[in-house]
């Protein structure tokens, strides 16, 4: 049940991001929408790794080594998401760098001003 709710939250963020990316004309807002899509994807991936009544896969007093296979959530999506967050930050940094460059060339951040690469 709870993983469905979290999954729906993640998908909601992705939808918000897609909508924002398509409606807004300001490059910075498009970058923000792109980050929203990324965050939503991370939440969805983590939600898929949830095991019913599971807990974090960290062995300590609360979760003994023998209990772990039965009560731990899937560690692989979590490990993937740690990777994905860092890559998401890297992509955002590159996008912002290009936004600065685009602003320098046209002195505006509106995507409508950049007609050369239009099809």
């Amino acid at each position: 049940m709870i993983s469905n709710v979290v999954l729906a939250t993640g998908f909601g963020l992705i939808l918000t991001g897609i909508w924002g990316m398509l409606t807004h004309r300001n490059i910075l807002r498009i970058v923000i929408a792109f980050s929203l899509i990324g965050t939503g994807t991370h939440i969805a991936i983590v939600a898929i790794g949830y095991v019913a009544n599971g807990t974090a896969p960290i062995i300590d007093r609360a979760l003994s080594m023998t209990d772990a296979p039965a009560y731990a959530v899937d560690p692989i999506p979590a490990a993937l998401v740690v990777t994905a967050i860092v890559i998401g930050l890297a992509v955002t940094a590159i996008m912002l760098a290009y936004a600065i460059r685009l602003y320098d060339s046209k002195k505006t951040l509106s995507i409508d001003a950049f007609t050369e690469s239009r099809w």
Binding site: L22, P57, D60, P69, P75, A79, I94
Partner: protein
């Protein structure tokens, strides 16, 4: 108007797909075989209580190495795209400096008090990566947030690029050397069993994982600091 309608249709179609996935998703009752073996093997064979760190820094440490390479490329790419000199002509740097406001006293004092605390917290997160939630990536991001705060407080205090560059390269070289040592002395590239595993759950345990964690933290912290520095005029 037509554009709006088109966007609404696209978003609605995506929403339909997502809704059907979210509603028909059946919560797992047990772990899939691969995850099950990771949950069993990381504590038993690697001696790391945190399964995720065990995966990130041993079983899939090669991915982690590739990922810090990506971060390095981004740091270089940001420097290339927004790099000093290309963006503003010579001389306008000085002009921009004179125009810029100084940070307020609240920010400067706050940074002085908070920066050491944030740095200690980052060290804690990095060093506890094998025991509880944390690790090199997370701690490195906290280091970068400390750098960000200092940049906000002293906007014209340049970061030392030589120090950042050499610390980052040194951490990278040591990371790869430990990986090669793993290939020679233990089971394979970046195997953590080159160092003694120690007592399960102790601070100095889990073989090379804490060392790799520290190196990763230094590398990520330096790379993110270089990225932050790249965005300044």
């Amino acid at each position: 108007m037509i554009r709006r309608a088109g966007i609404t249709v696209v978003v609605a179609l995506f929403g339909l797909v997502f809704a059907s996935v979210a509603f028909h998703h059946v919560e797992r009752q047990s772990l899939p075989p691969l995850s099950l073996s990771y949950v069993k093997l990381v504590p038993q064979e690697l001696g790391a209580p945190n399964v995720i760190t065990g995966i990130l820094l041993t079983y899939r440490a090669f991915d982690t190495l590739g990922e810090v390479a990506v971060l390095f490329m981004v740091a270089a790419g940001v420097g290339l795209v927004v790099g000093a000199g290309g963006r503003l002509g010579a001389g306008s740097h000085v002009e921009a400096r004179e125009q810029a406001r100084q940070a307020s006293e609240i920010v400067r004092t706050g940074a002085q008090i908070l920066a050491p605390l944030i740095a200690i917290f980052a060290a804690y997160i990095i060093m506890n990566g094998h025991l509880s939630a944390g690790g090199g990536f997370q701690g490195g991001a906290v280091v970068a947030s400390c750098v960000m705060l200092l940049v906000l407080a002293n906007p014209w205090q340049r970061l030392n690029p030589d120090f950042l560059g050499s610390a980052e390269s040194l951490a990278g070289v040591l990371f790869v050397l430990i990986g090669v040592a793993g290939a020679i002395l233990a089971g394979g590239f970046l195997d953590n069993r080159v160092l003694p595993l120690g007592a399960f759950g102790a601070f100095f345990s889990a073989g090379a994982i804490p060392v790799l964690s520290v190196l990763l933290g230094v590398k990520v912290g330096c790379e993110l600091s270089v990225i932050i520095d790249g965005f300044r005029v």
